[in-house]
């Protein structure tokens, strides 16, 4: 595949759900000179290998599996150049990109760049898990790719680490592919996804969810032979030939980290304002690069918004970046997105802040603007969950000091 040219009005980096959604919307808005760069051989992102029928309700008015959803998202993007097999290797100031495609390295230029490189789960390494390095330890995403793309099964009896929504989806994938889910492990005393989900899965599929159980060690020389766990002070060995780490998504933002763009170590993504705009006004972002982790619908909506903001930016309708106020926060808040607000706020755009906690938190979450409560709500959340803050519009006019507090109880 070769590119038609090396300069575009808009280049979208990443042809997953949010990127495709941005591409489609740009077309609808009359921005025609758009290029989507996708490093995989096919656009569509992670849903291509997620077979749970939980996609498309809002966009296509019925539930469908990931691959169909990804296909439909691809088909909606007409007239836009989709370049697959292209890796962006560097983000330079003012929308200059270094990339590498099937014909080698190239430099591209765009008036506006939309970053939509998505996210991936934390590996056992990133979690600093103890033990050996046998074959059969992987993230759930990698397992999905093994069974759905390569049509191979790497193990037969697996221990699932984590209890996020996706962790329970893993049970279904295992069942469909003849893999027994021995048990699920959760460090905390309750599950990250609602307890009801966990109880239902325990009851229907017989997969025990061990709460308050720490994975101590992975065992096995050539392939996994088991895991050592600590349960109520007792060390116990669970036999298995695979360990799957689920969730703990982290944005794929290394390009941002190595550029002139502001990176937020708390969210793991780029620092943006409510217009999904980075510190260099040539750059916008959407989807799960922004923070861990949202559903396909939210990503697709962020893609639509990014396209709208890009169009506004092209016609100079966005407030200057210099007029932005950072949002402050402290423990136990892990991150807040967006990281700053640009004023004046465009009233037709509904403002929504996303907050996540470091640890299980029960208390009252408050958005304080200029010393006054602008939003307040009791919360009882687990880490990796996202809390939405939708402040009253008036509360933010002429804000000069914005802070998010959590009073723990």
């Amino acid at each position: 595949m070769t590119l038609r040219k090396d300069s575009y009005e808009v280049i979208i980096v990443g042809g997953g759900i949010s990127g495709l959604s941005a591409a489609k919307t740009l077309g609808d808005l009359g921005v025609k000179d758009v290029l989507v760069l996708e490093r995989e051989q096919k656009c569509g992102g992670a849903p291509r290998h997620i077979l749970n029928p939980s996609f498309g309700l809002i966009e296509f008015h019925r539930l469908m599996q990931g691959p169909e959803y990804a296909r439909r998202m691809r088909e909606r993007v007409r007239g836009v150049e989709l370049a697959t097999g292209f890796n962006v290797t560097k983000l330079l100031p003012q929308g200059v990109l270094e990339a590498a495609g099937p014909q080698g390295a190239c430099t591209l230029q765009a008036k506006q760049v939309v970053l939509s490189t998505g996210t991936c789960e934390s590996s056992r390494h990133a979690r600093l898990v103890s033990g050996a390095r046998p074959f059969g330890v992987m993230t759930y995403g990698e397992l999905e790719r093994y069974v759905y793309f390569a049509k191979m099964r790497p193990f037969q009896r697996v221990v699932i680490v984590g209890t996020e929504w996706i962790s329970f989806a893993a049970i279904h994938t295992m069942r469909k592919n003849g893999i027994q889910s021995v048990c699920m492990l959760e460090d905390y005393t309750r599950t990250i996804a609602p307890e009801m989900i966990a109880l239902a899965h325990e009851k229907i599929f017989g997969t025990q969810v061990y709460r308050g159980v720490r994975l101590r060690r992975i065992l096995g020389r050539y392939r996994v032979e088991g895991v050592e766990v600590e349960r109520e002070g007792q060390v116990q060995i669970i036999a298995c030939d695979g360990v799957v780490f689920t969730g703990k998504f982290r944005p794929e933002a290394h390009l941002v980290q190595r550029s002139c763009l502001d990176f937020d170590p708390h969210s793991g993504g780029p620092a943006t304002d409510q217009y999904q705009r980075l510190n260099d006004p040539a750059y916008f972002a959407c989807g799960n690069i922004l923070r861990p982790v949202e559903t396909s619908w939210v990503c697709s909506k962020e893609g639509i918004q990014a396209a709208q903001f890009v169009q506004m930016s092209l016609s100079d309708a966005l407030p200057a970046i210099t007029e932005s106020v950072p949002i402050r926060f402290q423990d136990p808040v892990r991150f807040v997105w967006p990281q700053r607000l640009a004023f004046p706020h465009q009233q037709r755009h509904k403002l929504c802040l996303k907050v996540s906690m470091r640890r299980p938190t029960r208390g009252v979450l408050r958005l304080v603007v200029n010393g006054q409560d602008a939003w307040i709500k009791p919360i009882n959340v687990m880490p990796e969950q996202i809390i939405k803050i939708v402040p009253k519009r008036l509360a933010l006019i002429r804000a000069s000091d914005i802070e998010i507090f959590c009073d723990e109880r």
Partner: protein, 463 residues
Amino acid sequence: MSDIDEETFDIAVIGGGVVGCAVLRAFTLAGASSVLLERGADILSGASKGNSAILHTGFDAPPDSLELRCIREGYKEYLQIHEKLNLPLVKSSALMVAWTNEQTRALPGIVEKAHANGVTNVTQISLDELRRREPNLSPAAKGAVHIPGESFIDPWSTPLAYVHQALANGAKVYTLCEVQGGEFNNNHWKLKTNKGTFKSRTVINCAGNFGDRVEAINRPSPFQIIPRKGQLLVYDKPAADLFNSIILSVPGKRTKGVLVFRSVFGNVLVGPTAEDQEDREQAEVTETVLLDLKTRGELIIPDLAGQNIIATFAALRPATQFSEYQIEAIPDRCWITVGGIRSTGLTSSLGIAKYVLRLYEEEFGKLSPLKQISWTLVPNLAEHLPRPFQQPSAGEVVCFCEMVTRKEIEDTFSSLLPPGDISGLKRRTRCSMGRCQGYYCGHKVARLVQGCLQVPLPLTELS
């Protein structure tokens, strides 16, 4: 048991670690018919699979030691041959930083020792100079020594290049070939392996973590291997922008302390630890130690705190009860022992090989060197030099994190020494070694290697 190879070799090298690979190369080029016997599925399956990839000057090696001599010679030869083998070299220089007053007082002694060791360009530098060189270093630093010659290289392509050149010049390599015993009769060794017997006039024991056990085939081992585990953290590439040099610690009694350093692949490493253990094969990582390494790394470079850890690993160094290398020729038994090469082996291997070759020629007679030496090129994996994905012939990139093309992976299987297992492929190409640890490419690589590895991946086809 039958002979697996009809030939009676001049030398049989037991162990395909970095030392064995360099020894095989040196003897092959010197004209000896040589065979390498490796118990793993691939070379570098033992101690050499994990090391800090630093090309040492020897500035802090024990004075007047054989280790120092081999490091110095190895360093010199690497500089001479690396371009001919297409091996990278990053002349980063190193800083040995003092964090306590006691360590600061030790710095002049370190400079003195370096000079005595022949590394005369080592100097103590001022705090201002240190800040200028490393603005992101913790302000708690109290002083530093600058070692301009310390560099880093590719820890796996280097020994691979040695083996490739040996193979191209007539050597043979057998993997999954464990030497289980041997008989010495009529000035000939008959080595028993799981694959059959090998005949050789001289045996060179380079068996690393199994050095004492292999030695016992010949004589009661004068040394005992006490595997010393080193755990390391690997940070994603953006962390490499935080510093320039190899940041060394002032050494303690037993080890060189924790280092913060880059790799030629562009990652950052923090480690190693030094933990004695009994197991000679398996090196496990432990969460508490990894967390401690993280803390120590952040004390040296505080901004590491915001960086992503993408991999953790542990390796075993073949330490013995002695600090010195255990290299010895036993002429009446036609045996040469090369043991206890603890942690400087990557640098010293070429020097060791030269030294061993000299021992051999002194004791067993001159060899007649090859008239024409072939030079072989290994594929480049270093970030600062051109990589295949940047070329017009790139094709599909399979591993996005390390930018490994499909062709690079396929090419390994038609190379002089194809990978024997998945780890061997990773060491040759870097596939699945990056930030996603296989999420994007694990399944693609699994398909590509099907039917190509001696030790296949344990996968079941789904209908």
